[in-house]
């Protein structure tokens, strides 16, 4: 299940974005994009936007990304 945006798991998600293990190609591409974005701009605004983008991605694909969602959020 995708945690709500306010869940601390999202802060952990962004903090660990360089070491996440996932299987789906779309998740890999999306995470790689966010990884590059937060590496270039460490501002809080970019972190929040990245969490928002990731939340939207997982929420829209909850049925097809069950394994990756479980892998990341437990």
């Amino acid at each position: 299940m995708v945690p709500p945006k306010s869940d601390p798991k999202w802060v952990k998600f962004i903090g660990n974005i360089g070491s996440l293990k996932v299987n789906d190609l779309s998740t890999r591409m999306m995470i790689n994009r966010l990884k590059m974005r937060v590496a270039f701009d460490t501002s809080e605004a970019v972190r929040k936007q990245s969490i928002s983008d990731a939340y939207d991605f997982f929420a829209k694909n909850e049925a097809s990304l069950k394994e990756d969602i479980k892998q990341i959020f437990g």
Partner: protein
């Protein structure tokens, strides 16, 4: 259904209302009637009997009857960013872009930044031509619904699926990062002069010459476990320039690939391990040329052999495929 067919056979499928992806020579595609299809030029294919070159047949991918809707749109360079906004609610987007066009360049450099681009599978290929016609004619894409064609715009079929299904895109890339030097770039682009090798500033062309790198081996980046290739087009050692078939990006670490043994055998192993049955697949013309795939089978996989593969982004020397799964 066999994938390779005559224009007449493809025309019958179109007239019967089938939803189709079609690849072939311009002369063949231009002869097809209007209907529910999208196409692009290419004369290289993975056919049922193996790799082949033909300008007298087209290759057809027929979508299942349960596909609920499809809309074909041509996007100009300035409109490309709208592609994700037009995704169908439960579908995928199939894109064909003419090689050498500004749309090709723009897509490759910017698509990862488009809002929502990863929200639905975005899969497709770069249209091409017979290699001996390079510089004489241009690759072209076709909107079967409207009857339009273009050498500058991207053709996209937005497809929707019933609620109990979803589309999934994936890749088979036989190349992996080698254990050699770490190569990074400070700017994005298809043309490269400077790079950093293990943190030291170098001219890439000089480095490749000095290390005697086999230019058939791509640069490989690790995108969270997905191996993403960037292939060498030309190395101009005299002027210190390297041309690439896809852009490199800053903040990404590249390494020269480990050589692949026998492509056909290694590909078969990958297929057996994955047990996939794609709705659509495409492979790279560089794999066709370097691995001498003419007449060789890529397992049961059929599809166009292209000037670039697309799975959310432009890829090189990679097989891209699309499957439909049940929720």
């Amino acid at each position: 259904m066999k994938s390779m067919m005559t224009v007449q056979e493809a025309s019958e499928l179109i007239r019967s209302g089938k939803k189709l992806f079609i690849a072939g020579d311009e002369s063949q595609l231009a002869a097809l009637p209007r209907g529910e299809w999208v196409g692009g030029t290419i004369p290289f294919f993975m056919g049922e009997a193996g790799g082949l070159f033909t300008q007298n047949q087209v290759q057809v991918t027929m979508l299942p009857e349960y596909v609920t809707a499809c809309t074909v749109t041509l996007y100009g360079v300035e409109d490309l960013e709208r592609i994700p906004a037009d995704y169908k609610p439960n579908g995928f987007a199939y894109v064909v872009i003419p090689a050498f066009s500004e749309a090709h360049q723009k897509f490759a450099q910017d698509c990862s930044n488009w809002p929502g681009v990863f929200d639905r599978p975005l899969i497709g290929w770069i249209a091409g031509i017979d290699l001996k016609d390079l510089g004489k004619t241009l690759p072209r894409v076709f909107n079967g619904q409207s009857g339009e064609d273009s050498t500058t715009k991207a053709a996209v079929m937005h497809v929707d699926l019933p609620e109990d299904k979803y589309a999934k895109s994936n890749i088979i890339n036989l190349f992996h990062q080698g254990s050699g030097d770490s190569i990074t770039f400070s700017t994005a682009g298809f043309e490269v002069t400077e790079c950093m090798v293990n943190g030291q500033k170098r001219n890439l062309a000089e480095y490749l010459e000095e290390q005697k790198i086999d230019q058939k081996l791509p640069l490989v980046a690790d995108y969270v476990g997905a191996m993403i290739n960037v292939s060498f087009q030309a190395v101009d050692a005299k002027n210190g320039k390297v041309s690439l078939y896809a852009p490199v990006f800053p903040g990404v670490e590249y390494k020269i690939a480990v050589p692949v043994g026998d492509y056909e055998t290694e590909f078969r192993k990958e297929l057996d391990a994955k047990s996939i049955h794609p709705v659509f697949a495409c492979n790279c013309v560089l794999n066709y040329l370097y691995a001498k795939l003419e007449g060789k089978k890529t397992g049961h996989i059929v599809g166009p052999i292209t000037f670039g593969e697309i799975a959310y982004m432009l890829l090189n020397q990679t097989l891209v495929y699309l499957t439909f799964e049940t929720k």
